[in-house]
Structure formats: C-alpha cells, structure tokens
Symmetry: C2
C-alpha cells in the first residue's frame, strides 16, 4: 500500500511537472475577428523549424538553404501577380536586387525604397529575401532595392550594418534623402533602425520616412511578450528556439545590447517619421511597442499599428489579406 | 496489478485535466522593462474580486459599495497631491462632479474636459469614479466634469448613454465643441465612443478630440486577447468573472452587439481625432486595437499607444509612474 501510494505520488508530480513546464504551443484557435484569409495561418501548427538548433557553420548553411527553398518557391507566383521584375545589381559594392513594377506612378518616378529582409540575421540569403520587396513594389507602384546583406556564420556583426550603410550612402548620391524611404520586417526592421543610428553619427541625411514591421529591436530576451506570447506566436514560438541562437551567432564577440545590434539601446533622437506594425500574438509585440514609446519619448513622429490576432510578420504570408494590404498601403 | 494501473491512469488523467483546464493566473513576473513604480503592480496577485458573481440586485449593490470604499479611500491623498477641488453639480439634469485645479493655464480657461469613469457599467458610483478626473485636472491644469451616470441593476442600458448625451448637450450650450474634450478609461472609453455615435446621429457638433484608455468596445467575448491574455491580465483576469456578468446586466434585453453598447459594431465615420491607450497584458488589448484599426479604416485620425507589461488600466493605479504621466500628458 505504501509503495503503491509512492508510485502514484511520483507519477502525479511528474505529470504536474510536465504540464507546468512545457511550452504549450498554439493552444488557442484563430479568433473570428481576424480576416478570413489569415484565419488558417493564425490557427496553423507552429513553424516546423522553430526549435532547430544548428551548431556548426555547415549545419547553419544547410539549415538556411533548406528553408530558403520555401521562400524561393513562392517567387514566380509573386512576380506574376504583382507584375514586377527582379534584377541582380550592386549598390555601393553590396549585392542587391532591383525590383521594378510594370507601371510606376508619376510621383514615384524620382523616388526609391530601400528594403532589408527579415530572418534573424541568418535566413533568406539572395533572392529568398525579396518577397516583401516585390509586394511593396507592386502595391506601391514604385522601384524597390532589396539589399542582400552579408550574414553569419560567415559574416557576423557588423557586416550587415556595414552593407546597409554602403548601400544607403550610394543611394544618397543618386537621390535626395527626401525621395528615399527605408523599410523592412523583423530583422529588416532592426537593420533599418540601426542604419538610421549609424547614418546619424556620420551626419548623413536621413530618409523621408521609415517603416519597421515588428522590428527586432532588442536581441536580449528582455521585453514582456518574449514571455507572455511564448507559445502563442506560431511563427517564432519562443526566444529559446533558433532565434536566441541566431542572436548570439550574429552578435559574436559584441554585446547584445550594442545599439547597432539592439537599436532599443541607441539614441533615437531626430530619427525620421517612423511607422511600426505588430500583432497581438507577436513575440515581438514588446520589441515594437517599446521602440514606439522610446521614439515618442524624444519627439520623433511615430505611429503604431497592432493587428488583431497575428503572430510575427504574418501579414507578409499572404498576398491579399486585408491585413497584408493595409501593411503595404499604409507604408 | 490491473486495478493499480487503472487507479494510476485515472489519477494521471485527472491531474492532466486539472492542469489543462484551470486559468493559470498571473504566472509571469513583471518584466524589468516596466517602470520601477509599476513593477509591483504588474507582478501583484490578481484583483481579489475578479471571480465574484453577485446575483441579486442587493448582492450587486453590496458588492459595488464594498469595492467603492477602496476608491473613496484614495481621494483625499489624490486631491491633496494635485491641489484640486471636487464639487457636486448637475449638468443637463445629470449628477456630476466639477473637478477644479488650483491653477488653470491661460489657454485652458475657456476649455472643458468631460470625463466618464470606468468599472464595467456597475462599479464606481458617486465620487468613487473621479480619480482619473482628478489626475487629469491636476496634470492638465484644466477643469474637468466627471459624470456620475446611472448604472444597473437599477438603470441598465440605455440609461448611461442617455445621461452622457444630456450632459454633453448641456455642455454644448456653454462651450463651443472645439473647446470640449471627452475622455475615459475602460467603460468610460466605451461610453465616450458610444456618445460620439449617438451625438453624430443627432447632428450635434462633436468635440475637438477624445481619449479612450483601453475602451470596452466589444461587450461580447469576441477579440483575440479575451483569450490570449486571460489569466495574464491581473486586473480583469477573465471575461468569465464579474465582467461577463456585468455585460449581461448592463445590456438587459438589448443585444450585446448594439452599437451603443459595443461601439465596435457602430458606424465610426467622422469621429473626432482619437487617442487610444492599452498594454501588452491588457485583456482589452484587442478591444483597443480593433477600434484603432476600424477608425483608421474610415479615415479618422487615430493614434495608438501600447504600454509595456501593463494589464488593464494599470496606468491609473499610481499617481506618478512614467506610464501614468504619459497617459495624462499625451492626452
């Protein structure tokens, strides 16, 4: 009897431990308050690779290349739908893609948008990073240059920011700053903000405006929704997946709080007007709203949009959901 | 042996059921990214009364009066700190309080703010509802009139909106609409929005601007964060506490989706410029951002601020946290 009781108690404790400790993933269905188009994505199983942990440079490369196939597979349809061309170019010595729509509105003829793709500083090399740029060119009827910045494991920080700066400086020789806009989602938003900080210290003219979709502003795990939206966000799921590893890999020997790595720790005074997007389930909700508050604290014109029910960057994952269209039209 | 296995299995299933079903309340500590002043509130145990369910009118009255004692106890210190007077008045036949600061800035001499208190349409009768108005008068150096609208169980919908309208119409006889602002938190934000919808249908001039802090825009349980922030918000905790009961009590025989009950279902075109506040842990995060998106959809100037780490209306619960000051200064 005593032995039986012990077994039961141990099993109960084990069971409690298991259910108290595990990340309970995507336990909520999609609310009806999300657009019909995006509801299946909101209620989808988490990204299969969220908890992968590549170790060696070769493992990182293989992993990145596998995931890139999914992004690349989407391109023909995107280019067709938005009637845009993608051309490899070099800008300031940096690899990039010129994304040109079939028709450009007259007021956009002398304007250019500079794009930085997302992917935790490791994903989406080459053309795998241009989906957002294609949609922006198509929705906005404007030319977009998407920068194929260098990434770890080969090229950790500050390579990406050096590339961003070289490209931006070269663009400034072709266009007045007031005719340039810079944008990106996730890591692309982080790079956009870091580029502003860097350009400011060099007294370069800043662009007319920037748009940062759910920007990775804090590469440490500080911020409320790294905790409260863990397991609720079905795209990133948790800082403790590949994401945290990528932060370390990118920062290398530098402090994660270096302002060009985590722009939330930078001096954001005099940044250009900034539009920020995020979603209620976004692991980066805090990354976004903390930057929004910080910008407003120092008098920068900053506008925030929070999408109902969306996890990280989900507005990029369809071509014509209302949320997707809003992202591009408001930008 | 077979019997022992069955017992163990049943206990395991029970244990799983218990830990899967319960609302796991306030399981996250306060992030360091919240102001020091508010961190204790963010990590506090939930409001003790969140899961109370008064049934009879007498039980509702007793419950409301008990909770009102806590609000009333805070008033002397608030009045002292902000050097304001509170005077019972009648406006358009409706009970109200005129809250006057010691000094009024010259540009505010001919301006007035109209305030509606929060409390789920049931809490904070009489002077128990004026804390927010006191702080606004003090921070803004402006006169504020706080409306003591009728509430259920005695006076369900549309009593509160009728009172709001009478008071606003009376105010329009004393001030040009461009010198009036209307604001409130939670239910007060909901009433503010409903008043705009009602005033619009009557072709009354609308005020210069409105501020709605975490407004109760949808009294049904629709909206993502009713689910995702359940048990994370330590103020409201869950729709399935007193809150859902209060929604039913207030609506009475009317549909919860009546646009003057849930303004999210109303026609919000041509509303005045609107400033909205919420927090990452707020059960009403979706109530707030859904209204923000809806206002922007129809071209209303609407600005959104999301506080890091805060549950419902927590910016009102201190007098001088940075978040509290921001709420009042930005308003």
């Amino acid at each position: 009897m005593k032995k039986k009781t012990s077994i039961v108690l141990i099993l109960l404790m084990l069971s409690y431990y298991v259910c108290a400790k595990q990340i309970d993933i995507n336990r909520f269905p999609s609310p009806q308050t999300v657009s019909l188009t995006l509801q299946p994505l909101v209620s989808a199983v988490p990204m299969t690779y969220w908890n992968d942990h590549p170790k060696t440079p070769k493992q990182w490369h293989d992993w990145v290349n596998t995931i890139a196939q999914f992004s690349l597979a989407r391109l023909p349809e995107l280019k067709q739908k938005f009637q845009v061309n993608s051309q490899p170019i070099t800008l300031g010595g940096v690899s990039a893609f010129m994304i040109s729509p079939k028709s450009i509105t007259p007021e956009n003829k002398n304007r250019i948008l500079l794009h930085f793709h997302g992917g935790g500083y490791v994903l989406n090399p080459g053309e795998a990073g241009i989906d957002e740029a294609i949609m922006m060119a198509g929705y906005g009827n404007i030319n977009v240059i998407s920068i194929d910045y260098r990434m770890p494991p080969n090229a950790p920080f500050p390579a990406a920011i050096e590339d961003a700066l070289s490209a931006y400086a070269a663009l400034l020789e072709q266009y007045p700053a007031s005719h340039i806009g810079v944008f990106g989602t996730s890591t692309g938003g982080g790079i956009t903000l870091a580029l502003m900080l860097k350009a400011k210290t060099l007294n370069l003219a800043l662009p007319a405006a920037i748009v940062v979709g759910t920007p990775w502003t804090d590469l440490t795990n500080a911020g409320d929704t790294y905790v409260t939206n863990e397991g609720i966000d079905n795209v990133l799921v948790s800082y403790d997946g590949w994401l945290g590893d990528a932060a370390q890999l990118y920062a290398g020997k530098y402090d994660l709080k270096h302002p060009l790595i985590s722009p939330l720790y930078g001096d954001v005074r005099n940044l250009p007007p900034t539009l920020l997007f995020t979603g209620t389930r976004d692991l980066f909700l805090s990354n976004t709203i903390r930057m929004h508050l910080k910008l407003k604290d120092v008098g920068v014109k900053a506008d925030l949009i929070v999408f109902e029910g969306l996890s990280h960057a989900q507005y990029l994952m369809t071509v014509d959901a209302p949320e997707t269209q809003r992202y591009f039209y408001e930008s």
